[in-house]
Amino acid sequence: MDEEQLVIEFVDEAREHLADIEAQLLQIEALGADFDDDLVNTVFRAIHSIKGAAGFLGLQTINRLSHSLENVLGKFREHKIIPDPYNIDVLLKGADRLRSLNENVGESNDEDVKELVVRIDAILEEETKGKPARNTPSVLTGPIAAKPTKASEKKGKAPRKPRTPATRKSKAPAPLSTDDPSGLDEAEAALACSAHNDPLTDFDTENRSGIEVADDCITTVDQTVHSVGEEIQQEQAHESDHADDHRKATAKAASKRTTPEASIRVGVRVLDRLMNLAGELVLSRNQLLRTIGNSRTRTAALDSIAAGLDQVTTELQETIMQTRMQPIGNVFGKFPRVIRDLSSQLGKQVRLEMEGNEVEVDKTIVEAIADPLTHLIRNSADHGIEKPEVRRAAGKPDEGLVNLRASHQAGKVVIEIIDDGAGMDAATLRRKAVEKGVITAEQADSMSNRESLCLIFAPGFSTAEKITDVSGRGVGMDVVRTNIEKLGGSVEIDSVFRKGTTIRITLPLTLAIVPSMIVASAGHRYALPQTNIVELVRADGQEKRIEWVSGAEVLRLRGNLIPLVRLRNILGVHESTDAELAEVHTDQVVVIESGATRFALAVDQVLDSEEIVVKPLGRHLNHLSLLAGATILGDGRVAMILDAAGVASQASLASESDEADENTVNDTNAEAAEDYHRLVLLSHSANDRFAVSMDVVSRIERVRADQIDAVGGRRVLQYRGGTLPLIGIEESLQVGPAEIGSRQFIIVFQVFGREIGLIAPQLEDIRHCRVDIDGDACNERGVAGVTVVDGRTTRLLDLYGLCEVLRPEWFEEFKKKRPVVDRNKVLVCEDSGFFRSFLIRTLREEGYEIFEAEDGEYGWEALQSNPGIDMVVTDVEMPRLDGFGLTERIRADERFKKLPVIALTSLADDASIARGHSVGVNEYQVKMNKPALLGSISRLIGTSKSKSNNS
């Protein structure tokens, strides 16, 4: 059992040593004769301890091979042999072999390494013969410079994880940390080399069992330390060969080193468990804080205890997270070799430069990113970098450069793979994609270059002219992207044809604890990772508003149009019809970024930000693309974590929004903006759907059916101590029987300062839509026109017309007050045919003489050719010359200086109102608000006439 345990530990340890050796050998190779003594020493010691331990455990093959390697390294160390691509190549092969032997340690003794050993030993002859006559070096390429950053260089010299056997063995960090660890390495090796019956072995075993009972082992540890100390002296005395050199080197290394932190080896499972417990603690803390926050009995003492707990928990969590962090260099380490081997295989010259090896990421991410990165690196060398002759022809240096960079950016890790190779041609990609049936020719035509680049991530797409054994391994870029996205990361690509390609991977630092925003939709809570959230927006109907553009909802935000996705629709969790109006009316929007895709997610509510602990979903659910997992909220309920990329793809948004710049529109310049209507959609019965312009609606109330009373055949709503007169659609229009639920909606609007409610049996939605309204299709009074929304015929209600039919007495009062109109002439400028005819009809009924114009230019012409026009009613947004422009011209002309101008708008935001007033607009009116418009017209005409009469 003990023996087995030792072998397992040996394998672990050897694996660590070997993982670093490759990178170190390549660095030695790169520096050639000027190699770094410390580096060679590090490699030497690693091989030495493998050799020692293998010998001790009776692993002859490993022992034999490492012995040969050690010999060569010893000669390097003495500068008797100079490292060159050839001998490093042999050493690398040796290290490879050691690694494979180590992984199958049980069978290692049956393996035959003679041939390799002979090759390695042959290097030793160089010393005696001088430079041997080699035919052609097996490596075609020049040295590969792995250019680590300073931090990693330091780490390269000092053991990255100072888990030397000696420290592990004693488990007594204090006395050992002051010792020279490299010396202890030697001692360890010496211990291992010694014969089985050596008393030290007994110490060893004794000590190992002692680890279990920490208290008991202290004495043993002391003894061991003592013995180890003695052993160091012995060992150093024994090492007659290169003792001097070695000691010097050791001393040099030691002096450079800061005292290494004491460390112990801890199983990953223990860390995972700790991590889980910390997660639970975070949850409990959240729960506690919430309870205390809600409690009435809170006291200062309780608060301070809670605050203390909060702080400790946070710190504990961070510290435990820290234990799982590993430098990304652990993955990068293998790439120099990958590039080196690839370039010789492909006959290319490729130099790999790496930066940011020291950037730390959660262990799970380090592990999971290795394969995708390897694929991308291989791709860069294989497809990206051209052959030397091609490069020369293109005026590039023979040697291609692949730059691998890792860095922290805003709480994320960004890895970039940049090559100066051939780049990708968007047109070629499109053509290939069409050939392969990935996209259709029409799709290709409408694709931007950036979208085309993303084609390489499409399943079944490979750009290599021929499948090479290098990149064509059956895994496509689609797998790469999927794997990265699984980690909560994203990948972007940018390429300039003939210049090079940049692939940018963004990863979260950890997968375990995610700062998130908790949002509610349809009565359930969801977590949205903060990393995806750009901002929270409450659409205010003005600068930030939700609009309807060519069949899709968008959020207009600071001049950008961002595609809007309603979380409800995406989730498909349908909720009862008894919807809270507040939810229907929601304008709470979270702007989300996933890779290059940016979209706005409309939610019912944004609740809170919370650090959530990601809990995996069972295998039944882990394939759901919408979800990144689940979490447990402070109140113990489970909430789903939304996957931003999944939501985007569900909404078929992926990479369609990356032309955000092209979508940028100038607010004042929005083409045909007036064709968008903010409509309240309501249905009376299944076949009768109506819309009301939101511009005339004061508010919407939800009431119970029993709150509506009938008084003298008319319905009223008991309301804030008074009553609100109500009208029903069926009173005037032909409709089917109303489908009335237990609750109804009342759309409140004003007629001559009086509040009136329209009963809406079913309220469907409030939205911005672009509709063509046919004003002639319907002659019913109270209906302004007919349009089609969502494929359903919808009648646009003219609330004032409806009132006029149903409650003519209200209008009588107004008509009495109205001054006598002696055929005043009004010019109506409006580009929308529907509104123009609506206005003309309305004004004609009132006895005005109307001149009409389709835009400002026509309006201007009409003014010139029709003298005696008393008033201009103009739309703001019009082609050619808009309402403001027209007003400016009017005001600039002596003849029309005093002509009253009313601007009509449905977008009465402050900025445009201010602009209107500055150019000389007298009043603003909402298009559909007939009473207000009429009042305004007669008032303005009256004033202007009386003025001119006075003068």
Binding site: G572, V573, H620, S625, L627, A630
Partner: protein, 158 residues
């Protein structure tokens, strides 16, 4: 529990937890039942197949709850006072099953299991290991392993 079999606890005996779902009396082996609780407040999972009712928080772990009614093609019942959440633990994987009521624990000899009747529909056959006749009633013995993978199959279909 079963008087015909005096050696109740003989290792060869099969102990079943029986429960009602719709009009059916079902049973699963007791070693696969981790616990029975009243956690009926589920969080729905958007995009999940119908056979998954939702998830619960089982002491810090998120556990999937299956809808047996849907899987076996039974009528969906109203949640009642006797409804329970049966947590199965099958090879370390936990799955919840909503049942209308928990009935009894039966010990039966493996010989007392008849093969599944051929008139079961194709869908629910997969989850049925056999039937046991007990007095008047028929206990349909479910195949726990098949249940554990049930939702994955169903989700692929869905």
């Amino acid at each position: 529990m079963d008087n015909n079999h005096p050696h109740q606890h003989a290792p060869s005996m099969l102990q079943l937890v029986t429960f009602g779902v719709g009009d059916c009396l079902l049973g699963v082996e007791i070693e696969h039942v981790q616990e029975i609780n009243r956690q009926l407040e589920l969080t729905p999972v958007p995009g999940a197949p119908n056979s998954i009712r939702g998830v619960i928080n089982l002491r810090g772990d998120v556990v999937t709850v299956l809808d047996l009614h849907c899987l076996l093609g039974l009528t969906t019942p109203d949640r009642s006072r006797t409804s329970r959440n049966l947590i199965l633990n099958i090879g370390g994987e936990r799955v919840g099953v909503l049942v209308d009521h928990v009935s009894d624990i039966l010990a039966i000899s493996p010989d007392a299991i008849s093969r599944r009747p051929p008139n079961l529909s194709q869908v629910d056959r997969r989850y049925v290991r056999g039937v046991h006749l007990r007095d008047e009633a028929v206990v349909v013995i479910l195949d726990s392993h098949a249940l554990a993978t049930a939702a994955t199959d169903a989700s692929q279909v869905a």
